[in-house]
Each structure stands twice: as structure tokens, then as C-alpha cells.
């Protein structure tokens, strides 16, 4: 397959800005820790000044004044002390930094995860799960360097050079002037070069992840490539795509590395100029070696914070990129229509759809002006082609999304006026691929009602015809389901989901394709279980399988988002004339 590039993922200045504002606001919450980081770094800077001063003085003693080892011994001891102090402060600084990072990450992740869950499917329509998972896990981790590297370096780039300049000027004001005037060129050139390369750089990162995806896509599809004799051909595509990527990326990097080059260039030229000035003043005897050497030692230190700021640029980019995904999610308003307060009815409800529409913004799978009645205690099937809107209707009924127009009445109450928690406790929903945690069978069974007793569990398992296969599991109810469902077949997992719906003691049960992909025998077991579970409840089951349709009372057929006729099951099946 060719690689499809999406060139529109460049940076958007406005989004970039608001992401950075959010980052600043978050930084405000750990202001104390950040100030501590900057303060400690400044103290380390002060120790660097002392270190340079002592070293320079020692050289003055030995080289110029010809003093013996005994005179530098106390200075060496002092250097050792300063090294210990610097080491201590550095450790404290890093520990402080780790604490700040931990605090931000924990707070943001917790808030973000709860927000995503609170938004729910109604608030998240259009978001794929994969990127959301990435954002909650890796995305939050990627915020760390912004707070722990970039922000402190930003303040230090302002504080330390100034501090160093103040101590340099009394010793050698000419060198001070050189430093003062060369310093502004560094950020200036970096910004000029950085601006141009940032956009390219970002696009390159996007391309990199797409290229990684390209290889994985091919590896996952290897059986298909083999079947069509395309594996050898694709191997050459892999080589070509990688080489094209290398050439394109190197073109970008040649420009991107220029900013680091400029920075080094000015720092080096500045230091060399200072060395020359000091050298000649020493030669003419205008300056002592102690003062001169001190200034020479301080010159690279003067540029260091600016260089570090340049190096932390990547940390900033990463943090902003993560914030661009996180901040809009946190700022997204919660979906409307979930603030009802009326308690849900306790018996099996009667449901009435009145002119319900939900169009997904015009894409396929919506429903239009649906009128449908589900009498209390009835069992109704929803049939129709894939994409006709069956699942959409079911999701509206359980209240995962709200109709764009029309309303759904539950015993005469509009669904939006019911208290969401109360309504949810009355219903059970078994989607096409039921959700199971990797915990034990029991944990999964009790997900909706952690307090259910053993009797209820046994009745539920028997009703769902799940007791036999569960007793065959190595640890019965306490067998962990694991990633792959502990080797349970599709039909067995469906029956487990049915048992869970039974445990909930819901009065409304909605099932989406409970028998898709099952063989006839498994389908029969599920259908019988369905009939037992349905007793005393209002049930809506989506299916187009004839055996399933024959075990319900009434069938409503959906065509293109609209409900046609509601027929008795036998009537519907005789019209469908599926060869059995």
C-alpha cells in the first residue's frame, strides 16, 4: 500500500496558543514547586561563581605569585566543599523536579480520565478510542518535560546570565560588554530559524508515526499479502518508503539543526573574543591572572542557560503537542439532556418513540422520525440491513445519546427528565461485542451489582445457560477472563453477558445482535436463554437472524433509518422467506 500523508497536520497558531495558556494555568497549580526549582538552580549558579573564583585565585597564587602547595590546600578543600554543596543542591533539585512532575501528571490524568468518562459516548461522538487511550497514558507523561525542563530553563535563561554579568563586570567590563551584546543574538537567530523549521519538524513527526504504522499495518496483514503473492512486492515498498522518509527528514533536519548551530556559534565566538581581550590585557599587565581567568571561566557559564533553553525546545514542543490534545478535551462542555431528576419506574416500562431523529450529522446509520411502541413486558425484535440505524435506535433508548428531535416516553415521562442513574439501574444493555474486564468471571458478572448474593448469581447463570460451561472452567467463577476471555467461545461470552444483564435485575433489556457469528447450536442456546431472561421484562433485541427472530413476539423492520411495519414474528419470517 502506498503511504498516505495528511499534510494538514501542520501547526495551528491559535490552537498552539491556547494549549500553551492551559499549560501555564496548570503550572500555576504547582507554582511553589516550580519556584523551588528555579531558586535551587539559581543557588547552584551562585556556587558555580564561587567555584570559578576559587579556581582562578588558586591559579593566581601558583602561576603568578609562585606560592607552594600549602597555600592552595585550603582552596582545594574549599573546592571540595563547594562540589559537595553543588552535588547536594543538584540532588534536591532533581528530587523536587520529580515531585513536581508526579503531581502534575497524577492530577491531570485523573481529571482527564474522569472527564472523558463523564463526556461519555454522547460527548465523544467522532473521537476514536485509540487516540484517547494514547492521550490518557502517553500524552499525560509527555507533559512532564514541559514543566520540569522547559519552564525552569525559561526562567533560568533570564536569571542566570544577568547574575553572571553582575559578577563579571567589576572584574572585566569590556568582556562583560561582549557577552551582553552577543547574548540577544542567540534567541533572535534561534527564533528566526526555529519558526521556519518548527512547522516542518512537526510534519516530520507526524510522518514518522505514520511510517511506523505502515510497517505494522503490513505485518498485521501479512497473511493477506501472502495470499495475493504481494509480500515480496511490499518488502520493496518498505525499503522505498523508509528511504524516501530518510531523504525528506534529513532535508528538514539540515535546517532544524541550524538553530543549535547558530547558538553554538555565538557562544563559541563570544567565549573566544573574551579570551582574546583578556589575553591582551594580561599581556599588557592591565589585569591579574586571577581576575582574567575568573572571567574566562564564567564566559561559557554565561551562555549555558541560553543553550539549555535551546535544548529544551523539544520538551516544549512535546508538551504543547500533548496539551493540544488534552486541553480541548478538558474544556469540552458536558452533553446536554442528562440532568433529569424524576426516578425511573420500578416495573417493566412501556416505551414510546415519538418522531425520534438522530442523524449523526448526516452520515450513514442515523434514524429519522421513528415512531415505535414497546408495550410493557413485551419482547420486540428490530430487524433491517446493516447501517439502517438499528444500533442507533437502541443507543437512544438506553440513553447513551439523546435524540436531535422527537422524544422517547417511558411510562409517559420524557426520558430526558428521568434521573440518569436511576434509569440506568433499571436497564441492561448487551452490545454486539460485550465488554469484559480482564478480572475474574465473578467480577465481570457483578459489574453492575457488586452486592448480588450467591443465589441470584446461580439463578442468573442457569437462566442464561451459562452454568455448565462455567463449572468446566479451572477455577469456576473465580477463573480470570484475561485478554482473550479464558478460551470461552463467542456464544459462551454472549451468554455470560446475558447472565450479567440478569444479575442487574433490570426491567428493560436491550440486546444488540446477541447471536451474530454463532453457529446454529450456540444460537439456539442463546435464544432459549434470551426467552428465560425476558420473562417479566420489556425487551428489545436487534437481529437479522431468522432463528432469533422466531423467538420474539413482534418484529419491527428498519429501512434506511425509518421504521416500516411492526409485524408478528411469524408474519415477518414468512415474508422474508429465508431458505433454512
Amino acid at each position: 500500500m502506498t503511504e498516505h500523508s495528511d499534510e494538514s497536520t501542520g501547526n495551528n497558531p491559535r490552537r498552539n496558543n491556547s494549549a500553551e495558556q492551559w499549560l501555564f494555568a496548570e503550572a500555576g497549580k504547582i507554582r511553589g514547586l516550580l519556584i523551588g526549582i528555579v531558586g535551587l538552580s539559581s543557588c547552584i549558579g551562585l556556587l558555580v561563581v564561587f567555584q570559578a573564583r576559587i579556581l582562578a585565585t588558586a591559579c593566581q597564587y601558583v602561576v603568578i605569585q609562585g606560592k607552594g602547595v600549602s597555600s592552595v590546600l585550603p582552596l582545594a578543600a574549599l573546592l571540595l566543599l563547594l562540589a559537595a554543596g553543588r552535588s547536594l543542591l543538584t540532588s534536591v533539585l532533581e528530587i523536587n523536579t520529580a515531585a513536581a512532575a508526579a503531581k502534575v501528571k497524577q492530577a491531570v490524568r485523573s481529571r482527564l480520565y474522569r472527564k472523558i468518562q463523564a463526556l461519555g459516548p454522547a460527548g465523544l461522538s467522532g473521537d476514536e478510542t485509540g487516540p484517547l487511550i494514547e492521550t490518557v497514558t502517553k500524552g499525560v507523561d509527555e507533559l512532564e518535560p514541559y514543566f520540569t525542563r522547559f519552564l525552569p530553563q525559561l526562567s533560568l535563561a533570564a536569571i542566570l546570565p544577568l547574575m553572571f554579568l553582575i559578577v563579571i563586570v567589576p572584574s572585566e567590563w569590556r568582556s562583560g560588554l561582549v557577552l551582553l551584546f552577543s547574548a540577544p543574538f542567540i534567541p533572535l537567530f534561534m527564533i528566526l530559524i526555529g519558526r521556519g523549521s518548527e512547522k516542518l519538524h512537526r510534519r516530520q513527526w507526524g510522518r514518522l508515526s505514520r511510517m511506523a504504522g505502515h510497517l505494522l499495518d503490513l505485518v498485521q496483514g501479512l497473511p493477506d499479502l501472502i495470499i495475493f503473492g504481494a509480500a515480496k512486492r511490499e518488502a520493496t515498498v518498505v525499503a522505498r518508503v523508509s528511504d524516501e522518509y530518510r531523504i525528506a527528514t534529513m532535508a528538514v533536519l539540515r535546517v532544524a539543526f541550524l538553530s543549535a548551530f547558530t547558538l553554538e556559534f555565538f557562544a563559541t565566538v563570544g567565549t573566544a573574543l573574551v579570551a582574546v581581550i583578556i589575553g591582551f590585557r594580561l599581556l599588557f599587565g592591565d589585569l591579574s591572572l586571577g581576575e582574567g581567568l575568573f572571567v574566562l571561566l564564567m564566559a561559557p557559564e554565561f551562555y549555558l542557560p541560553l543553550r539549555n533553553l535551546g535544548l529544551s525546545y523539544h520538551a516544549r514542543m512535546q508538551g504543547v503537542a500533548a496539551a493540544e490534545r488534552i486541553a480541548p478535551l478538558l474544556a469540552r462542555p458536558l452533553p446536554e439532556g442528562f440532568a433529569g431528576t424524576v426516578p425511573a419506574p420500578s416495573g417493566p416500562p412501556s416505551i414510546l418513540f415519538e418522531g425520534v431523529s438522530f442523524r449523526y450529522g448526516g452520515v450513514r446509520g442515523g434514524v429519522t422520525a421513528v415512531d415505535l411502541e414497546l408495550p410493557a413486558g413485551s419482547i420486540t425484535a428490530l430487524a433491517g440491513e446493516s447501517g439502517a440505524g438499528k444500533t442507533t435506535l437502541a443507543r437512544l433508548l438506553v440513553g447513551l445519546t439523546r435524540p436531535e428531535s422527537g422524544r422517547i416516553l417511558v411510562n409517559g415521562h420524557d426520558l430526558t427528565t428521568l434521573a440518569p442513574d436511576s434509569w440506568r439501574s433499571r436497564l441492561a444493555w448487551v452490545p454486539q461485542a460485550p465488554y469484559f474486564t480482564s478480572g475474574t468471571v465473578r467480577e465481570n458478572l457483578l459489574l453492575g451489582r457488586p452486592d448480588a448474593d450467591e443465589d441470584l448469581i446461580n439463578t442468573a447463570l442457569a437462566a442464561a445457560a451459562a452454568d455448565q460451561f462455567i463449572s468446566r472452567l479451572p477455577h469456576g467463577l473465580d477463573t480470570p477472563l484475561g485478554d482473550r476471555g479464558a478460551g470461552l467461545s463467542g456464544g459462551e461470552l454472549r451468554r455470560l453477558a446475558l447472565a450479567r444483564a440478569y444479575v442487574c435485575q433490570a426491567t428493560l433489556v436491550v440486546l444488540d445482535e446477541p447471536t451474530a457469528g454463532l453457529d446454529a447450536e450456540s444460537e439456539r442456546l442463546v435464544c432459549e436463554a434470551l426467552k428465560r431472561v425476558a420473562r417479566g421484562r420489556t425487551v428489545l433485541v436487534i437481529s437479522h437472524r431468522e432463528q432469533t427472530l422466531s423467538s420474539v413476539e413482534r418484529v419491527a423492520e428498519m429501512v434506511d433509518g425509518r421504521i416500516g411495519q411492526v409485524l408478528l414474528s411469524a408474519e415477518f419470517l414468512s415474508r422474508c422467506e429465508v431458505p433454512v
Binding site: 601558583v62 523536579t97 497524577q106 468518562q117 505485518v219 574566562l296 447513551l400 431468522e546
Partner: protein, 547 residues
């Protein structure tokens, strides 16, 4: 270390670039340290000459300073370009190597890798392999070589200084990193483990968010995620603290190293063993060389995790080929007749699925196999595709398939596997995989036969619609019909269909069955084997066999 050697052998085509990057790295560090050393010696000599009035030739040192300043700046730029160039070159080489290695392993071995989490695991592992040179090998080589060179330099000018620096460089560059590695191993392993667990919980929670909401279990699950997140972060913070102690240790050794050189050098000056300006040179050189020592801890820090990823990949790449290709026959099968006799096979050793199965389909015949799930219907299809081993005999056109070159066999078969994969590209690209040389007319014909024509006509982008990663932008039924179209386009003598109508509604299913039937009966000499438990599909064959 074995893995590193293996890595170097695989990427041997790029040794020139890798070596060049390392040489440049050493040169840059040397230019930098020499720049400081000569500057120090220069101003000390100027001061001595200024105070004593003796003449000093400052042309050579000032020219050296200028040269080194340029060498450092340009060298750094060149080093970054060359190391990245070699990283990307290694990357292309590795990708092709991996892909070629994985090909004979699919699907039997790949599905066992990392407990089935092929995508999640493989991405991270390949990343680790691809940055092995840039993040680990190059810094380790540059750091070690620079330190050795620095010791030689010091030994030349002042053996006592070389002695004390050897001690402090060993402490900073070897002992400290080893200690760090030892202490960070446990939290590193735990944090990786917990991060994977957190990822699983978040995945479960977000994929199951609808049911969690309806079951009223959202808050309970969020609390579990919070707890896991806190555990991960505790380990990450612990790693941060170890890193802090390591940086602190580095600062201490660097500072004390310079103090020790001050004492050693002063003694030599006092006893007139070295000229006084050399003391300044030694001091500045020693302070600067710790930059090279600083390269080692971060590289050693990353090493254990990278080794783990790399050995996982190599383990997979070295897995014995499940179904070897040992052709002994050069005859081409005469036709598409299929014959299974006394075939036994299994997915996992010791759990036989097929036992003494026999079936004959004449060339051009059309058979539907049916039976409950798990009985081995799909296994038969995979045996014919040489994805699985078998006992007994399976022949195509009278020739045993294990004697045929795989390429010849596969060339005769078109198939819709149980779980067809759609590649992240357009619908057209996915269908043309069946035959790159197909013309528009053939394409339209298979679209019609697989009931895709109306759906595609209604799409705004038509055949150019993207199917998304793993076919996420199309429904399951649409994906299956695309896979069917792709198989029909290949137009091979044998057609294998594993549940061709899964996920389709009954109207579309009936339509596909009738269109396929029309096509099969239209004088096409294709041998067709359909595997299905759907009643509608039974009409596809001229005979139905119940397993």
C-alpha cells in the same frame, strides 16, 4: 551484549555511517576540551609574559583557538547530521530485514507474540531497535573513546593528574552509572509493567465506557485507574530521584576531580616539573572532559529496557518457521482439483482439531463445508494456504501441496480468510491487491459480484474512499465484501471462502449468494470451497458437507 552484536551484524551495511558519527562525536568533544585547555594555557602564558616582560608568541595559540572554535561548532552540526543519517539508514535496513523475517512466520507465530498484542508491543520494540544506535551505541562509544583519549593527553602532560583523573572519571563514568543501573532496574521494570497495566485498564475503561456507564460502574473503574496511575507515578518519581542522586554524584566527582588536579598540578609546578601555565591548561581540560563522562550514564540507563525490546524482537525473528517451504516437485498442478485424504491437523500441539478428514473436490467443483464453530472448517482453508502443518495427504491437481513451492501453490489460490485485513489505504488499493494488472472493466465486474457497486456509487469519494487503519472506517460487512472483491479479482483456479457473508444482513447475503452462483455457473472452471455455518451460503455449492 549478544543483542548488540547481533544488531551490529544486521546493520553492517551502515558501518561507515555509524563509524563516521562516532568519530565526529569524539572530535567534537576533543575540540571542545582542547579549546578550553588552550585558552587557559594561552591567557596564563600571556599573564606570565605580561608580569615578567618575556616575549610570548601568541600567534600559534590564538590561531588554534580560532580553528578549534570553528571545528567544535561545525563538527557538532556535522555530527548531528551524520548520526541521524545513519539512524535512518539503519532504520530502512532493519525494516526490510524484519519484514522479510516475519513473512514466513505469519500467521502462526505472530499471533502468539506478546500475548497477541502485536500492534502495541511491536511498535515500541521496533522503536527501541531503531534508536539503539542514536541513543545507546553512539554515546557509549563516543564517551568511552573520548575518556581514553583524554587520559592519554593528561598522561603526556602530567602523569599525576592523569592518575587522579582516572580515579574520578572511573567513579563518574563507570561506577556511578553501574550503581544507577542497579538501583533503577527494579523501579524501571515495575514502572514499565504498571504502565502496561494502566494502559490495559484505560483501554478497557474507554472501550467499555458505554456499558460501564449503564452498569453504574464508571466511578469504581476510574478509582482503579487513579490507583494504578498513582502507582506508576510513584515508580517514575523514584526513577527521577535516582537520576537526581546520579546527577548530584556527577557534580561532586567533577568538582573533586578538578580540586585533585589542582593539588597534583600545583605540586608539579612547585617542583618545576611542568611550566606554571600548564596548570591552568590541566585544570580547564579536566573540568571540560566530564562532559564526555556525562554521556555514559544516560546511555547505560536506557540500555536494559532497550535490550529487553531487542531480544523480544530477535526471539520472534528467530522462531522456527512453522510451515517450511521445501519444494521437491517441479511439476505444475494440472488443474484445481482438491483432495484431502486422512488429514489430521491442530492449531496447538496435542489438541487435534481435524482427525482423519477426507474430501475430494473435482476441478471446477463447488463444495460448501458446514458445521458448528471450532470444528476445524477454517483450519482446512489455512492448510491449503500452507499457514498450518498437516498430517496425511492434501493434493492440488494431483500433487501433494507440501511438495510444491509455496509461491506456485499460492498462485493458484484466491481466498477470503476468516479475518481478512484491510490495509490503511483506499478501497481501490485494497481491491487491486488481488491483481495489480486488473483493468477497470474487471474491477467493475468484481464490484458487482461482491455487491459493492451500489454502496461505492453512493460514497462521495467512491473507490478512493479511505478504509482507515484496520478497516476502521468501514463496517464489518463492507470490509468482508471488499475482501471478497479482492479474492474474485485474483481469478485463480481455486477459490476459498471462509464465512464470506459474515456480518451481512439477510437481504445483502441473499443477493451476494445469487450473484456468486450466477458467476460460478457461468462456465467458470474455478474450484470453490466455501466454509460457512450460514444457511443461505449452503446454496453456493453443488454439494454440502456437514462436518
Amino acid at each position: 551484549m549478544n543483542q548488540l552484536a547481533r544488531f551490529l551484524i544486521i546493520s553492517r551495511g551502515q558501518w561507515f555511517w555509524m563509524g563516521a558519527g562516532i568519530v565526529l562525536g569524539v572530535l567534537v568533544i576533543f575540540a571542545n576540551t582542547l579549546l578550553m585547555a588552550i585558552s587557559g594555557w594561552f591567557i596564563a602564558s600571556m599573564a606570565v609574559s605580561g608580569s615578567s616582560g618575556a616575549a610570548f608568541n601568541y600567534f600559534f595559540p590564538s590561531a588554534s583557538i580560532r580553528f578549534l572554535a570553528i571545528a567544535r561548532t561545525v563538527g557538532r552540526y556535522a555530527e548531528r547530521l551524520v548520526t541521524h543519517e545513519s539512524t535512518f539508514r539503519i532504520l530502512s535496513e532493519l525494516r526490510v530485514w524484519l519484514f522479510n523475517r516475519f513473512e514466513p512466520l505469519a500467521p502462526a507465530c505472530l499471533e502468539r507474540y506478546a500475548g497477541g498484542d502485536v500492534t502495541g508491543r511491536l511498535r515500541g520494540d521496533v522503536d527501541a531497535l531503531e534508536t539503539l544506535y542514536l541513543k545507546i551505541i553512539a554515546p557509549l562509544a563516543v564517551g568511552t573513546l573520548s575518556l581514553l583519549a583524554a587520559l592519554v593527553f593528561l598522561l603526556w602532560f602530567s602523569p599525576p593528574s592523569a592518575g587522579v583523573m582516572l580515579l574520578f572519571l572511573l567513579l563518574a563514568g563507570v561506577v556511578l552509572p553501574l550503581l544507577v543501573r542497579r538501583f533503577s532496574e527494579e523501579p524501571g521494570r515495575r514502572s514499565a509493567l504498571l504502565a502496561a497495566e494502566l494502559r490495559t485498564m484505560v483501554t478497557e475503561g474507554l472501550q467499555g465506557v458505554e456499558e460501564l456507564i449503564l452498569l453504574g460502574a464508571v466511578e469504581r473503574q476510574a478509582a482503579v485507574v487513579d490507583g494504578l496511575s498513582a502507582e506508576v507515578i510513584v515508580e517514575q518519581e523514584r526513577l527521577g530521584r535516582i537520576n537526581g542522586l546520579s546527577l548530584g554524584g556527577m557534580a561532586f566527582f567533577a568538582g573533586s576531580g578538578v580540586a585533585a588536579v589542582l593539588l597534583a598540578g600545583s605540586m608539579q609546578v612547585a617542583s618545576h616539573q611542568i611550566p606554571p601555565p600548564n596548570l591552568v591548561m590541566l585544570l580547564l581540560f579536566s573540568a571540560a572532559i566530564f562532559e564526555a563522562a556525562g554521556l555514559l550514564p544516560s546511555a547505560l540507563h536506557l540500555l536494559p529496557a532497550a535490550q529487553e525490546s531487542v531480544s523480544r524482537i530477535f526471539e520472534l525473528a528467530d522462531a522456527p518457521i512453522p510451515v517450511p517451504d521445501n519444494p521437491v516437485s517441479s511439476d505444475l498442478p494440472a488443474d484445481g482439483a482438491l483432495c484431502f485424504s486422512n488429514v489430521s491437523a491442530s492449531y496447538l500441539p496435542g489438541m487435534p482439531v481435524l482427525d482423519n478428514f477426507s474430501l475430494t473436490i473435482p476441478a471446477g467443483g463447488c463444495v460448501v463445508l458446514t458445521g458448528s464453530s471450532g470444528i476445524g472448517k477454517s483450519l482446512l482453508v489455512e492448510i491449503l494456504l500452507r499457514f498450518r502443518n498437516y498430517e496425511g495427504s492434501v493434493t492440488v491437481g494431483g500433487i501433494e501441496i507440501r511438495d510444491l513451492p509455496k509461491e506456485t501453490l499460492i498462485g493458484m489460490i484466491a481466498a477470503v480468510p476468516q479475518r481478512p485485513h484491510l490495509f490503511n489505504g483506499t478501497i481501490r488499493e485494497n481491491i487491486l491487491l488481488g491483481s495489480v494488472s486488473a483493468d477497470e472493466e474487471q474491477l467493475q465486474q468484481v464490484l458487482k459480484n461482491s455487491c459493492l457497486d451500489q454502496w461505492i456509487a453512493a460514497l462521495p469519494l467512491g473507490l478512493e474512499t479511505m478504509v482507515g487503519g484496520n478497516g476502521s472506517a468501514v463496517s464489518g460487512g463492507e470490509a468482508r465484501r471488499i475482501a471478497l472483491a479482492r479474492a474474485l479479482l485474483k481469478d485463480a483456479p481455486i477459490l476459498l471462502l471462509d464465512e464470506p457473508t459474515e456480518g451481512l444482513d439477510c437481504a445483502t447475503e441473499r443477493e451476494i449468494v445469487s450473484r456468486l452462483n450466477k458467476w460460478f455457473r457461468n462456465g467458470v472452471a474455478t474450484t470453490v470451497l466455501v466454509v460457512s455455518h450460514r444457511p443461505a451460503c449452503l446454496q453456493l455449492g453443488n454439494s454440502v458437507i456437514h462436518l
